[in-house]
Amino acid sequence: MARMRSLLLEQPIIFVLIALIAAFAVFADGFADASNISNVLRQTSMLGIVAIGMSIVVLTGGIDLSVGSVVALSTVLVAGLANSYPPIIGINVALVAGALIGFANGVLIAGLGLQPIIVTVSSMAMVRGLAMWISESRPIFGTLPKDLFLLFDGRFLGIPLPVFIFAALALCAMFFLGNTRTGRAIYEVGGNEEAASLAGIRVGATKVVAYTLCGFLASIAGIVLTARMQSGDGVRTGMGWELDAIAAVAVGGISLAGGRGHLIGAICGVLIIGLLANAFNLMGINPYWQRIVVGLVLAGAVIAYNERLRAWFSRARITAAPTPELPRADRAG
């Protein structure tokens, strides 16, 4: 319980999310309807899955710009293969492809010490090209089996299946980050790579795991997206998702320098972005405004998480009421 409370205190974004929901429930007609809520969650779950992977990579101090392209490739593979094989084949091929792309990113970044942004920009271009080539730049409809669509339309225990998948993956990822050795290593590599390495952490392997997971999760998002579109598309799908995911991660308070933040934050970030879009639609606000407000939210979050600002606030608090934490002389040393 104490852990829960400290988590809430460290994640002010949760309160922002709650405040937004309350505000929209009052001002946006139809927002609070069960069907609308479940619809928003369903729509956001795919970006959410991508953001989980992005969070893991960002926590190591890296970044993965190829996720949008992986989503596109994944839709193309699932839809393309579904025409001649049972859908499970396409799904598995997509998962393997996503993981392999992430693995390759990780190996180049960790093994050769290349900069993550350059490596993943190049794989973003290559994978997008591959997806367009396979699909010949046309949407793939064909005869997709109906049960594939269940991935998006279906429900499990009354919860829309995409939301269920998203929630399950998020819980798994939280468990992974908080309760396993590799998860711990991800934080430590991002927090101080040199110290982690000198303490015997295998930095390279940790990074490879992070990028592989990120690619794998992006391909899962692509599979769900295929079910939603009932087609595959190598050209338009996943466009800009890498940036939306990074925005969600940053809004959620995960430091882009690595090592700091909690997955909960990124999930709130995704939900905020999704809810804003939905509420603005319901209120009939010009969609251009949506982009502007998303930008403002991001800027506001980054300002709110600013270390200097926080230090200033906490100093102000300390001078008001000195905390008897440690003996003074000891702290000076």
Partner: protein, 528 residues
């Protein structure tokens, strides 16, 4: 202290009569930082065309002094006079305007700009149409650099030059403006012997041209080779000044060390003796960059000190043992078996742990809680089938922290919030929890207060008493003498001396560390 300063002052006054008067005088300069009096009422005179050496141990106040003159920090009190007039060195530009240039140990060059661009960085010449006058700059730079003995291209990127040449560029940069006083912080530290020779030639040339030079160095032979006068600082006080001609190595070291013994001498009960087993044997360790044929042994239950200054190879030795750097040649044996580890995780598995020199940069993940930092190297022990056994982990962390008396409000507090002494204890706790038998500790007491230092030393002795072996690297000789059973002295990548506890003698260790005596022989050989 007053006595020694007084006697040296009479020498200095005698000499002053024969030499031109000082153009720069500093009087009553004080500077304090929270908890530290870095400088306390220090006076200094600089005469035209003299080479003045500023010496003192780490933390004596040399750098603060230098930064005051560079205009990088403003003293709390005191005055600086130039040609008899009081001047205000409020920023670096003011210092430059008064003809005072400073070259820091970390060169302030931009690697991706050319030599020419670096020389005129921040003071580009313009022609009458306010456009950059590269022609004038090029010809001016060519003259200056030729004077300094740099005959390479002015268009090559500075990052591609050797450190020695980069230093010439820094000096050239200082020479583009009228320079009456050039201050250099350990300029010879990164240079090899030939480069040092060339550097001294240049320094003498500048001296002949009337530029005064303040030169910080840790190498005794350099002081005696080029300097005219020495000013000694200790704990922020001026404790002596003397003409070099009137000085001996022993006298200089005595001035630097003073009579202070901040740590009371203690007799530890030592398990190690000449016949305890050797747990670590280093044979002829050589790296292409620095270490030359370093050999020593570490016995079970022994606390061994590696005394050396920055650039002596002390850190490199530990890194080589720990498997971070690959040695060029030589062998490391642990318990009789060859132990050339391919990386830290292997070394830890082999029972060797490292506490790095820079706690914050290399030792700890500051943003992570105490708990994570303590189990960083031993997490495997706390992982169950699926998840970490958090309860067992927390219990172990609390246990080891209690043993080391780490003060923390909770195991979940980010380790960056602890004091320096407690951070160091967290690193020890990590090594302890990783169950290593050989502790390699690089400057374990740097930047922590005296009480915390004693606590750390007590812990180290306790570890040794329980059969662990410890290597401590430090440049503070008194501390090594306080805690070690044996001290190996290092200078410029070589072993220059070894003493056991019964033989400990601060001055002779200091001389060995600063490359006195023996090193002079080496140099004589090298020159022939």
């Amino acid at each position: 202290m007053a006595k020694s300063a007084g006697s040296q002052d009479t020498h200095a006054t005698d000499a002053r009569r024969e030499r031109p008067g000082a153009f720069l005088t500093m009087a009553e300069i004080s500077k304090s930082y929270p908890g530290v009096q870095a400088l306390s009422r220090v006076a200094l005179e600089v005469r035209p065309g003299e080479i003045l050496s500023l010496v003192g141990e780490n933390g004596a106040g040399k750098s603060t002094m230098m930064k005051v003159l560079a205009g990088a920090i403003t003293p709390d009190g005191g005055e600086i006079r130039l040609d008899g007039r009081v001047i205000e060195l409020s920023d670096t530009a003011a210092a430059h305007a008064h003809g005072i240039s400073t070259i820091y140990q970390e060169l302030m060059l931009i690697p991706h700009l050319s030599v020419l661009e670096n020389i005129f960085l921040g003071m580009l010449l313009r022609n009458r149409w306010a456009a950059l006058d590269w022609k004038a700059m090029r010809s001016k730079a060519a003259v200056i650099m030729a004077e300094l003995g740099y005959h390479g291209s002015l268009d090559v990127h500075v990052g591609k030059l050797s450190v020695a040449k980069q230093q010439l560029v820094e000096i050239g940069k200082a020479m583009t403006r009228p320079c009456r006083l050039l201050i250099m912080d350990e300029p010879t530290a990164p240079l090899n012997r030939q480069e040092v020779e060339h550097f001294f030639e240049i320094v003498r040339k500048l001296q002949k041209a009337g530029t005064a030079i303040i030169f910080i160095t840790h190498h005794l032979n350099e002081i005696f080779e080029v300097c005219d006068r020495v000013v000694v600082l200790r704990d922020g006080h001026l404790v002596g000044e003397s003409e070099v001609a009137d000085l001996t190595e022993a006298r200089l070291v005595e001035m630097m060390l003073g009579k202070k013994l901040s740590l009371e001498k203690r007799d530890w009960d030592t398990k190690a003796s000449a016949d305890s087993g050797v747990v670590l044997q280093v044979d002829g360790l050589t790296t292409s960059a620095l270490l030359k044929n370093v050999s020593f042994q570490l016995r079970r239950g022994e606390v061994l000190g590696l005394a050396g200054l920055m650039g002596s190879g002390r850190t490199e030795i530990l890194r080589a043992i720990f498997g971070v750097d690959k040695p060029f040649s030589g062998a490391i044996r642990s318990q009789g078996r060859l132990a050339m580890f391919s990386g830290p995780s292997k070394a830890l598995a082999g029972g060797i742990g490292l506490g790095p020199e820079d706690r914050k940069a290399d030792g700890l993940v500051l943003s992570m809680p105490v708990r994570h930092n303590v189990t960083l190297s031993s997490l495997r022990r706390y992982s169950g089938l699926f998840a970490l056994r958090r309860r067992a982990e927390t219990a172990a962390v609390m246990d080891v922290c209690k043993r080391l008396q780490v003060k923390y409000s909770s195991t979940e507090v980010p380790v960056g919030k602890l004091s320096g002494g407690n951070q160091q204890k967290v690193i020890l706790a990590r090594l302890l929890d990783a169950k290593v038998d050989i502790f390699l500790l690089d400057e374990p007491t740097r930047g922590i207060d005296i009480g915390a230092k004693e606590a750390i030393f007590e812990l180290i002795r306790e570890l040794a008493a329980k059969g662990a072996s410890v290597v401590i690297v430090s440049s503070v000789i008194e501390e090594l003498i306080y805690v070690c059973d044996r001290i190996v002295c290092l200078n410029l990548g070589r072993v220059t001396g070894e003493q056991t506890r019964e033989e400990f003698d601060v001055s002779s260790i200091m001389i060995n560390v600063m490359g006195g005596q023996r090193d002079a022989h080496h140099q004589a050989e090298a020159r022939i």
